[in-house]
Symmetry: C2
């Protein structure tokens, strides 16, 4: 058999395995599930006429998120990108700083740093978590950085390395313990991009509560959705207060005066979207369980495949399994392309992972370490349909 | 009678006049009205599961806005601030540019320029429209600017004056004819901040269709609302295409690849919010008529008052009368403060106009012309309850 016909055969096997789980029809990559009080809360919101950025659902969503994650403060935002931007601003990331972040991430992570005038600095991934390789990062920082007046300076660029963003890829927690120690040792502020990891625990504690500040996303493709939306989590009162102030046009409290004491943003989540969020939060555990059950169904299908492995949560973690991921055991571009063609062609939505950040035109010239593992993963990952409702179909 | 007791007496007269129109109870400054298909469209949106940035209501809202305003392109955005930011970026405003704008505006106008790295440059208002004084601006530009290679250069700062933002205060159209001519003569791009003027016409044509690009807002306090939301209007295909691309994370079209060719933004309006917007658009004419009827009711109350005038739409314009405005004929700080105290104290929400931009800490050092008229107006304006539903109560 030629390599091409081998690839085609295997692609069809993958399609069959996925179809065994999803059943027939057009299968989106990740579809929201509205099985609770969504409808009722939207009606209540409309009836109150409070649909905009002030309203009881915004306050309630904040409390729900605090209760669920254990964070002291949650601030709903207009989307995950806005949350990331506010997270970075609220810890003092500013023009000319560098922000360490995975090359393997969604573009919002790099964009948010850019909005602050900061420079993304890309770091490598590890196979175990798909997140930051803290061991390699430590060696790298040892080589390229020095401490000056309590700051971490990139010796090559002269810039301050202000923050390290850890992103929990597809919902799987990164190696937080090592990252926390590293950030402390190097005087770098730890930020969690928890956009994908609502419902994911690291050693029993919710992701997004380890960094100084973190960002969640409730985009339509996430575990829960508010249409568009996101939130900041933090245990630091000062950070929370700064993020709240700056995301509300930096308006200074007064009964009727319009005074703004800084360049602010219009980043607060509207009450209409928060109403949807409150209903979704009530179902979060159920949705996470659905995503975890889906993993088990896929695992049954792929466990005997020696060319393609289904990605499993790292040890010590309970992952929300937001996006199910197949990983080719060896780089094989034609096989990957063939799987994408065959599955998508049949109406089963599958996706490669994001293009690595340093390969995107706006970030080509940003500093970076060697990115061997990220590059290898990017060539081998295929995300497959991940809606929690699929676990019930099967 | 002392001045204080005179002020108190007059403040109570103002309260009585407003109460004659609004009736009793707590009266907000501007409350949304949901009397159409809001509920039905939200349900339809939820049932479709397309609540996020892709969906039929987003497309429909764009078409509805195009049909209503006559603009060739409308792009719904997450809010008015985002729309302003995209408007400026899409016409090429960039770091180090200056952007002319009224000192008398909401802070979003100045913030949006700052997001581009540009410097706001504040200009004076005129009594007739509460908008840009084009005659005074022309004299000013004659004195401070020079043309160099087809660009307007501020001789004092050496920076390019890239754009002139005209803001239609409280929905009343600015003097667009003079502003258009001025912008042409000085090679400055005209932008309309039409956040407040949906439904307002200048010489029979919709505001927001005169500039190269304009921004609308559908915040909860506007004539129509989408919870949070806004839109860009333009007749220029290139501008529309740039704004659409950059507001959609600058993602390059591909069936499954994630490629982004510029620093982009997550600024598209979610379908959930657009569903509300589509229902609101169906009632827009009715809502504008309500606001205009409210003006006539207030006019009856205030026509015989020689110390306080109700602001009337400029000649040649049909205003949406988004915010009704009382203007003291003479500056009288204690009277203004007393009116604000007495009305708000009685549950009738009244507001002074925004603090002038050059008086806000982040914009204190920005260039500006003399701002006599803006300063005089800012000391004399009081906005009074403006919900269209009040015209029916009376």
């Amino acid at each position: 058999m030629t390599d091409t016909s081998k690839s085609t055969l295997m692609a069809h096997q993958v399609l069959d395995s996925i179809r065994n789980v999803t059943g027939p029809g057009k299968i989106p990559l990740h579809e929201p599930v509205f099985i609770g009080n969504e409808w009722e809360y939207l009606k209540e919101c409309l009836d109150s006429t409070f649909v905009s950025s002030i309203g009881s659902f915004v306050d309630r969503l904040a409390v729900d998120l605090q209760d669920y994650t254990g964070a002291s403060y949650a601030i709903p935002m207009v989307n995950g990108t806005a949350a990331l931007h506010m997270a970075l601003i609220s810890i003092g990331v500013s023009a000319g700083d560098e922000v360490l972040m995975p090359a393997l991430t969604f573009v919002a992570t790099a964009n948010a740093a850019t909005y602050c005038g900061a420079v993304p600095h890309f770091i490598d991934a590890e196979d175990r978590s798909l997140g930051v390789d803290a061991t390699k990062l430590e060696e790298y920082l040892e080589a390229i950085s020095e401490q000056r007046q309590g700051k971490c300076i990139n010796k090559q660029t002269g810039r301050v390395i202000r923050a390290l963003i850890v992103m929990h890829t597809f919902g799987h927690p990164s190696d937080l313990e090592k990252c926390i120690r590293l950030a402390e040792n190097y005087n770098i502020t730890l930020v969690e991009d928890a956009a994908e990891s609502l419902g994911s625990l690291y050693r029993g504690r919710h992701t997004g509560t380890f960094g100084k500040v973190s960002a969640l996303s409730f985009n339509g493709n996430k575990t829960i959705t508010t249409g568009g939306g996101g939130a900041i989590l933090t245990n630091d009162r000062e950070v929370a207060s700064k993020a709240l102030h700056l995301s509300t046009t930096a308006k200074v409290g007064h009964e009727w005066e319009y005074k703004h004491d800084a360049v602010g943003y219009n980043y607060r989540m509207p009450n209409l979207n928060a109403a949807l969020g409150c209903a979704q939060m009530e179902k979060l555990d159920e949705l996470v369980e659905g995503q975890r059950a889906l993993y088990r169904l896929y695992e049954r299908e792929f466990s005997s495949n020696d060319k393609i492995k289904l990605f499993t949560e790292p040890e010590g973690c309970k992952s929300n399994y937001w996006l199910q991921s197949l990983i080719l055991t060896e780089k094989n571009d034609s096989l990957r392309e063939e799987i994408l063609k065959v599955t998508n062609g049949d109406g089963v939505m599958c996706r490669p992972v994001w293009k690595l950040m340093h390969q995107l035109p706006p970030f080509r010239d940003c500093p970076r370490m060697t990115l061997d593992c990220a590059q290898s993963l990017a060539a081998r990952i295929i995300n497959i349909p991940s809606s929690p409702v699929l676990a019930k179909t099967a």
